[in-house]
Structures are given as structure tokens and as C-alpha cells.
């Protein structure tokens, strides 16, 4: 018995040595996402998309003839933890590039670290507008900002839904407040009056008080910036209170989870999203098929974000023909990537444009695409 244990231990040690020897021949990319905490669910979806991108790439021979290795760290969406994760990835794991860190506040804390080490950083999620306005040289955002989304959709929503008096509800953080501010500005410019503006905290479960105010405000439409958990409870309670009001939202609304959590209350809701699994492009159909086979669910906004940001990074390393940080950064600037949701290019400040966003309406438990529009190059 003891002998067997010894053999096992030796085999394990042998495996470890060969694994670390093997690790020398990989290209390491760091990924910081919230794997625990209140947005863990969304962070895990991002990781699933990122892993799929890496596995697909490795199956085709990897990058620069080497396999890509994804080193994943839990930043919990907290600035301090995300900074620790970034330091660890750079110092200990010696990654050549990084993707992350989900929440805008966490990403804002990580950027000074990556700038210090001149490490290229791509985010597929953090949408707070000012991140790309501070002159960072190595930071790229492969997603929309609230302003870009509002700019693209305000007019479409205003014309299609015929709303005159709109209430705004957002989650109480940079993203929610930013979304509400941009949409109310754009909608106001088109002539819709503002009936009410209210915020709620992450993890709120009871919206009755807020919705009582909404009812009293006499709005004919409500804009909601919320994620799956909060948003699904909110629309359920809108129906429970018997409110007959048009709902349109931003956040991860066009997902199967959202629809199953909200149940019948989800029917008829509009959502402006940068990604929906029902987008009809060949790239997307292939992506959704593989994602479903791997995860037993359709990808949402965050699965696509992880997939896109890793692909953009790997293509840049391939084009740079080197793992040198400066070369990767200049290759990232020339990004010309065709993803499931369209064509990504970067502005000199690192903001992506050109990809599609969609307005969907949930009908019979499916987010049907009402309108697809490319995000214009910002002025």
C-alpha cells in the first residue's frame, strides 16, 4: 500500500515537472474576472467565452506556433483584489498580455498597474466612458460605452415605441448611473419628458416601493439599466403590481437565464444589447453552436465579450509576431477583427467601434432581433 502511494506521488511529481516544462512553451494571457461575489455569475460567463476562444485557437495551432495558456484570476469586481490579481499575473505568472477586469471601477484600478508595466490590456465589459478618455496607451475597450449605445438606440426606441413620458431606473453604480444619464439626455433631446429618475443597489430584491413611485409618476415607458439578477426580479414585480408599461432595458437582458427567471413577465420587453445569441450572422451561429455544446446554455453579452476580447488579443499577438508588449500594443491599434457581433476596430484612444448592437424584443421566450445597427465611429 505504501509502495503504491510512493509510486503515485512520484508519478504526480513527474507530471508536475513535465507540466511546468510544457508551460515554458506556451503564451500566457492573464484574465481577471469576478469569479466570486455578487457578479460572479456574469464573470463566469465571460470566462466560458474566453476559454472557448483559446481552445478554438489552440486547436488550430495556437499563436506564433505555441499553445495559448489562459491564467485566470478572481478580482471579485473589487478594485483592491483586481490590482492584486494584476500584480500577481505580471510578477509571478509572467503573462504577456491581460484581459479584464469586468466592473468599470475594478478596471479603472487595474489600468495604472498595466500602464506601469506597459502591459497591453483589453476589456470586453467595462463601459464607463472616462476609461478611454485619460490618454492611456496600452488600454483597449472592445465594447460599447453607454453614450455610444444611447446614441445608436435612443432614436430607434423613441420612434418605434412612441414614448412621450419616460421613467429611468438604474443600478446604483458607475454603469447604471452612466446609462441613465446618457439615455435620458438623448431621449430628452428627441422630445420625451422625464417622469422619474431612481436608482437601486446591487442585490436589491424588493422593488415595490420604487415601482409604486413609478406607477404614480404616470410614465408610459420605463428605461432600466440592470443586470440579470436585479433586472429579472424587477420586471417580475412590475407585472405583480399590475403595471401596464413599456419596458426597455440595457444590461444582460437578452439571455435565456433572464427569460427563465422572469418567466411570463419577460414577454414583450425590449432590450438594447451589444449582443444576442439570436443575431443572424454565420460567425455568430458557429459561436453559439459551440458555446451551447460546451456550456449547455446559449451565450449572453458576457460570454460573447470574453470570446471577443481573447480573440482580439490573440490576433494582435499573432500580427505582432512577438510577445513584446510594445509590439502587441501597436498591433492592437491596427485591430480589424470580425466577431460574432460584427466588425471591431479601435479608435486611437482605445475605444472600439464598427461592431453591431441590437434592439431585441422578447417574444415567446426568445429575444427576437427587432433592429441591428452598427456602433458608429465616435466623433
Amino acid at each position: 500500500m505504501q509502495k503504491l502511494g510512493l509510486i503515485k506521488a512520484m508519478t504526480a511529481a513527474g507530471l508536475l515537472i513535465s507540466a511546468s516544462a510544457f508551460a515554458q512553451d506556451t503564451i500566457k494571457i492573464g484574465l481577471i474576472q469576478p469569479l466570486t461575489g455578487s457578479v460572479a455569475y456574469n464573470g463566469q460567463a465571460d470566462v466560458a467565452g474566453a476559454k472557448q476562444a483559446v481552445d478554438e485557437r489552440n486547436a488550430k495551432g495556437g499563436v506564433l506556433g505555441k499553445k495559448v495558456e489562459l491564467v485566470i484570476e478572481d478580482g471579485q469586481c473589487k478594485p483592491a483584489n483586481s490590482v492584486n490579481a494584476a500584480e500577481k499575473l505580471i510578477q509571478r505568472d509572467k503573462v504577456v498580455a491581460m484581459v479584464g477586469a469586468f466592473c468599470s471601477s475594478a478596471t479603472a484600478a487595474v489600468i495604472p498597474v498595466t500602464e506601469k508595466y506597459q502591459m497591453p490590456l483589453v476589456t470586453g465589459v467595462s463601459s464607463e466612458a472616462s476609461l478611454t478618455q485619460k490618454g492611456y496607451k496600452h488600454f483597449f475597450r472592445a465594447t460599447e460605452t453607454d453614450a455610444l449605445l444611447a446614441h445608436t438606440f435612443a432614436k430607434i426606441i423613441y420612434n418605434n415605441l412612441h414614448l412621450k413620458k419616460i421613467a429611468y431606473i438604474g443600478v446604483n453604480d458607475d454603469w447604471g448611473r452612466g446609462g441613465v444619464a446618457e439615455f435620458s439626455k438623448q431621449m430628452g433631446a428627441l422630445g420625451a419628458s422625464n417622469a422619474m429618475t431612481e436608482y437601486f443597489d446591487h442585490g436589491t430584491t424588493d422593488f415595490y416601493t420604487l415601482l409604486t413611485k413609478l406607477k404614480a409618476s404616470g410614465a408610459d415607458g420605463v428605461f432600466v439599466a440592470a443586470e440579470t439578477q436585479d433586472g429579472s426580479i424587477l420586471v417580475k414585480q412590475i407585472k405583480e403590481l399590475g403595471l401596464n408599461i413599456k419596458v426597455f432595458g440595457v444590461g444582460s437582458w437578452a439571455t435565456s437565464d433572464f427569460i427563465s427567471l422572469a418567466g411570463p413577465a419577460a414577454e414583450g420587453i425590449y432590450a438594447a444589447v451589444p449582443y444576442s445569441a439570436t443575431m443572424k450572422t454565420p460567425k455568430n451561429e458557429a459561436f453559439v453552436k459551440t458555446y451551447f455544446a460546451r456550456n449547455k446554455e446559449n451565450p449572453g453579452k458576457y460570454g460573447a465579450a470574453g470570446y471577443n476580447s481573447l480573440n482580439i488579443m490573440m490576433e494582435a499577438i499573432e500580427r505582432a509576431k512577438s510577445t513584446d508588449a510594445a509590439k502587441i500594443t501597436s498591433a492592437l491599434q491596427k485591430t480589424d477583427y470580425e466577431g460574432p457581433n460584427g466588425h471591431f476596430r479601435f479608435m486611437p484612444n482605445g475605444q472600439a467601434w464598427g461592431f453591431n448592437a441590437v434592439l431585441v424584443q422578447i417574444r415567446n421566450k426568445v429575444p427576437e432581433v427587432v433592429m441591428m445597427a452598427p456602433i458608429d465611429q465616435p466623433q
Partner: protein, 290 residues
């Protein structure tokens, strides 16, 4: 005025929910002097087990509730006998560290098993609006308020009227004398802990049918439960109910007339005011202790 009535109704319902979810915490603290930082995680386990038995095993709500109650009572019993027992006589700090560790362990284990997705418990009654004049409620909410009241009364009767309840109170007042009188105090402690765990789990399952339940729910639940317990007085049943209702109504009014974005400030203000003016809470049971 109509608006005020709806806010009041919202606050009362929410307050009952707060009271129920704080009951387990106040019980364990009051009778055992264990500050249970894993309280929110017991709530989470109740909710997730509730989801599992109703959605996966296909049981109806009440059968599921009985099953969850049994499982969580056994779990609470084991936690006490295997873990709390070891730090019982070492003062309060080791118990705090132990339950913090336990909460981290439970969250991460649950995450490994069920993942991070929010889930819902299949409710026993429908969710259609019920309209009483200016007030809108749902059947499910009324049912849940009824359940809260029933659980509170049942727990109260258990402690006040049964032999086990008398043994619990005796052990709390003077463990040595209780042992001399022939009470098996180890069993009393385990029963108390099991009861507290079960109350947390029942509220998790009940509220999981109204809202959703997810692995990370424990933090918020613990936070509100601590506010209720500090306001009401550690260990007091009446205090938990009054504390819950005060918090619920204060939040509803604040949210209704000022801003819903800052509603969590209410709980913290209440805690600070209580600690300054009535540090042992509104209904302190401190005087009862020998």
C-alpha cells in the same frame, strides 16, 4: 394618501420578511452567545435546497419545505456537535472566527456544486396582483407573510411552552445549574443551533419563491439581519419582530419619499443610533441573564 398606504403595505411585508430572516440569528445569539456569521449562508442553503427539491426533484412546495427543514435541522445539529462544541467555553471570539470560516466554506462549496446562477423556488400559490382599494399585493406575498407569522409563533411556543424550550432557557440562564438539574446541555445547545439554522433556511426557501436565490445572497441577508437584531435587542423575539417592521417601514418610507438609491443608509443609521442611545437594543434580554 393612496401612495402612503401602498408604501406602508410594502414596508410591513418587507418588515415581516426581515423579522423572519433575523429570527434564527437572534435565537442563536440569545440562547447560545454565538454570533453566527454563517447565518446568511444558512439562508442561502435553504433557498438553494428549496430550488433543488421543487425544480429538480419536482416536489410540491410544502413537501419540499418539510424535506428542507429536516435536512437543515440535521445540518445545524451536526455543525453544533462537530464544530461549535469545540469552542463553546472559549468565549465569543473563537465562535466568531469559526462561523466566518464556515460561511466562506459554505459559499465556496455551494459555488462548486450549483454554480453562481440565480435560481427560483417554485412557489405554492400564484403571483397575480391582488387589489385592495389603493393597495396592490400578491397572493404569494400574503401567503409568505402568513408563513412568517406562523414560524414566529411556532418558535415562540416551542421556547415558552415545551419541555425542550424550558431546558433551553435554563441552560441559557445557568449552564452549570442546568447540568446539575439533569439537563443534557450538549443536546440543548445542538437543538438550539438546529432550530436557528432551520429558521434561516425556511426564510431562504420562502423568500426564494418571491425573489430569487443565489450563492452570493448571504451577505445582504446577514447585513439586514444584524441591523434587525441590534435594533431589537440581541436574543429578543419581540425585538426581532419590531426591529424587522421598523427597518422595513423606514426603508419603504425613505425610498418612497426621498430616494431609493440611498435606501441601505437607513439600516446603518438605525444601527448607529441604537448603539449610541440604547446599546442593548429596544427589547434587551440582558437583565434575564444570571
Amino acid at each position: 394618501m393612496d401612495l402612503f398606504l401602498q408604501f406602508l403595505a410594502n414596508g410591513l411585508v418587507q418588515g415581516m420578511f426581515y423579522a423572519l430572516s433575523a429570527l434564527g440569528l437572534t435565537l442563536i445569539f440569545g440562547l447560545m452567545r454565538v454570533v453566527n456569521f454563517a447565518h446568511g449562508e444558512f439562508y442561502m442553503m435553504g433557498g438553494l435546497l428549496g430550488w433543488y427539491v421543487t425544480s429538480r426533484l419536482g416536489l410540491d412546495f410544502f413537501t419540499g419545505l418539510v424535506l428542507v427543514t429536516l435536512v437543515m435541522a440535521a445540518f445545524g445539529w451536526l455543525v453544533d456537535r462537530l464544530l461549535i462544541e469545540r469552542v463553546r467555553h472559549l468565549g465569543e471570539e473563537p465562535g466568531i472566527l469559526l462561523t466566518i470560516g464556515l460561511s466562506i466554506f459554505l459559499v465556496n462549496t455551494a459555488m462548486l456544486i450549483v454554480g453562481t446562477a440565480p435560481e427560483k423556488v417554485a412557489g405554492p400559490v400564484g403571483n397575480a396582483p391582488l387589489i385592495f382599494g389603493p393597495i396592490v399585493l400578491t397572493k404569494l406575498r400574503l401567503f409568505a407573510v402568513g408563513c412568517c407569522a406562523a414560524a414566529i409563533v411556532a418558535a415562540h411556543l416551542l421556547i415558552r411552552k415545551t419541555r425542550l424550550g424550558r431546558a433551553m432557557r435554563a441552560t441559557f440562564q445557568d449552564p452549570m445549574a442546568a447540568r446539575l438539574a439533569g439537563i443534557n446541555t450538549a443536546r440543548v445547545y445542538a437543538s438550539t443551533f438546529a432550530l436557528g439554522t432551520t429558521l434561516a433556511a425556511i426564510s431562504g426557501m420562502l423568500l426564494g419563491s418571491i425573489y430569487v436565490v443565489q450563492v452570493s445572497v448571504g451577505g445582504v441577508v446577514s447585513l439586514k439581519a444584524f441591523v434587525v437584531v441590534i435594533l431589537g435587542g440581541m436574543g429578543s423575539f419581540a425585538g426581532a419582530i419590531v426591529g424587522g417592521l421598523v427597518l422595513g417601514i423606514a426603508e419603504a418610507m425613505w425610498g418612497g419619499y426621498l430616494s431609493t438609491g440611498l435606501v441601505d443608509i437607513v439600516g446603518f443609521v438605525i444601527v448607529i443610533l441604537t448603539l449610541i442611545f440604547r446599546p442593548y437594543g429596544l427589547f434587551s434580554t440582558r437583565a434575564e441573564r444570571a
